[in-house]
Amino acid sequence: MGTLAERRIGPPLLKAEQISLAFGGVRALSDVSLEIREHEILAIIGPNGAGKTSMLNVINGFYHPQRGTITFKGETRRRMRPHQAAETGIARTFQNVALFRGMTTLDNVMTGRLLRMRRNFLWQALHWGPALKEELEHRSFVERIIDFLEIQAIRKVPVGQLPYGLQKRVELGRALAMEPTLLLLDEPMAGMNVEEKEDMSRFILDVNDEFGTTIALIEHDMSVVMDLSDRVVVLDYGRKIADGPPDSVRRNQDVIDAYLGVSHD
């Protein structure tokens, strides 16, 4: 992707500055700063317990860091609620698929449109007139996403019954339905076979290309990370130890030590 990738990447969309987060005595993040630039695919990697998921949780407001600020679209905030993050255009998926298990694929993806519905709750509750028309518009948008992700066949299936790989895809669909500016993916390929991983990689690249969505993802499969990402941030024990293009990060000695372990004698 080389030069093409560099050309489409814009200024920072999100800046995390000196984020520190602790749970009681356990430090999850210490003084981590990172940027996510417009239109890029950023990979956050690191050994287990490095603080990757904590970082995503801070970005979308699930956790409130003790210190540090998040600036998103030029607006700095200290405490933010997850639904506010969603309102400003941050969507995410979860490490252990968090879908609405009793609902169908279609309904799951439709929940992603809730914030885009302009009619207030009362109208929607009555399910009549303008609200019904709006519902139909959203429905057609959702059908496009379903086509895009090639999950037409399971539209009416309750997601609890789907295999894991498809559940991950539905979860991506729900996040896309929000039309996010920033998409956070927590291990989108965990537990998938090679073929499913290839499909998912293709979808991630297509989303980035076609919708211009900025993506930050956590992934353990190094070949996937190297192929997909424009930039890689490495966390270890809650600190950032490297930040740069995939090739340079791969050769970084600190990173190799963090992954392989280094003797301290």
Binding site: F94, A98, L115, A125, A175
Partner: protein, 311 residues
């Protein structure tokens, strides 16, 4: 010997001899069961959406009914009294979210449960303060004449009650399955985190479920009250919803309905046919006995989600 006979032979013999009577008892029981279902439904709505076991549901039923009767006694027409009572229940949902749920967000379930016990005592006292402790007769013109349908005796009032409950459940089903708000409610019930991540405001949803549970309680209260008069024992009758929930599963709307029907029909049949063997009063404990059996062998209930814990 005589006792065994009364338990194992006589009841079945009399069922066999007079099937119409059995049918009558069964139908009467099912119709009472519908009312249990209605109270249980209020519990399920709140439990699903906020994970709170609302001990105060029974008192909410009572409070709603008291408000309704109070408005009627002030000379309001039935529809206006209903609107006022529904508004009061909605206002109460806002107040509960603000005073009880919001400060306790993310606390253990048991703490929220304790808070609802507090709420029970508060509403109980507050209700007496405002409306007094007397029994208020309630008659909103539902006919109470016995009917004979196909040789079976049915009380007209029970039929009306069943029709009201049926339409309410149908309306709720449409609301939950077809509307965007319903979708948001189901989403919150399924997974709080995921719901937050797509931008569903939990607090608004809580207010909505508590308000809906309040209005369902109001309907239940009006029906119970028309039968027994509006009095403080209604809150106790509502405790019958507990075994109903254990049977049906705490998270299942269909479960609440089926559970209510089973308890209603079961206790009537047990009372009528096995009552003579034990000297009666089976109706009072049958539901709890059944719940105990379920707790031993199928703790998730008939329709509840299987409880699987990682160890």
């Amino acid at each position: 010997m005589e006792f065994l006979d009364a338990v194992f032979v006589t009841p079945f013999a009399s069922m066999w001899d007079n099937p119409e009577f059995l049918l009558e008892v069964l139908i009467g029981g099912l119709l009472t069961g519908v009312m249990y279902s209605l109270v249980a439904l209020g519990f399920v709505l709140i439990y699903k959406a906020s994970g709170v076991f609302n001990f105060a549901q029974g008192t909410m039923v009572l409070f709603a009914a008291l408000t309704f009767v109070g408005m009627l006694e002030k000379g309001m027409p039935v529809w206006a009294a209903f609107l006022v009572a529904a508004t009061v229940m909605t206002a109460m949902a806002f107040a509960i979210e603000w005073v009880v749920l919001r400060p306790l967000v993310n606390q253990e379930q048991i703490i929220l449960f304790m808070a609802t016990i507090g709420l029970t005592f508060f509403l109980d006292g507050f209700g007496q303060l405002v409306w007094g402790g007397d029994v208020h007769p309630l008659d909103i013109g539902i006919p109470k004449d016995p009917l004979i349908i196909g040789g079976v005796l049915v009380n007209e009032f029970d039929l009306v009650a069943a029709a009201v409950c049926g339409s309410l459940v149908a309306a709720l089903a449409v609301f939950f399955q077809k509307t965007a708000v319903g979708r948001a409610l189901r989403a919150v019930a399924d997974d709080h985190q995921a719901a937050l991540s797509v931008g569903i405001p939990l607090k608004t949803i809580w207010v909505i479920v508590w308000a809906v549970a309040g209005v369902v309680g109001l309907v239940a209260g009006i029906l119970w009250g028309s039968n027994l008069g509006v009095q403080f024992s209604i809150a106790l009758v509502a405790l019958k919803a507990l075994p109903v929930l254990i049977l049906g599963g705490f998270t299942s709307v269909p479960g609440a309905i089926v559970g209510g029907l089973i308890v209603g029909a079961g206790e009537k049949v047990a009372e009528v046919f096995w009552g003579p063997a034990t000297g009666g009063a089976i109706e009072d404990w049958f539901a709890y006995g059944l719940a105990l059996v379920f707790l031993l062998f199928r703790p998730q209930g008939l329709f509840g989600e299987r409880i699987i814990e990682r160890v």
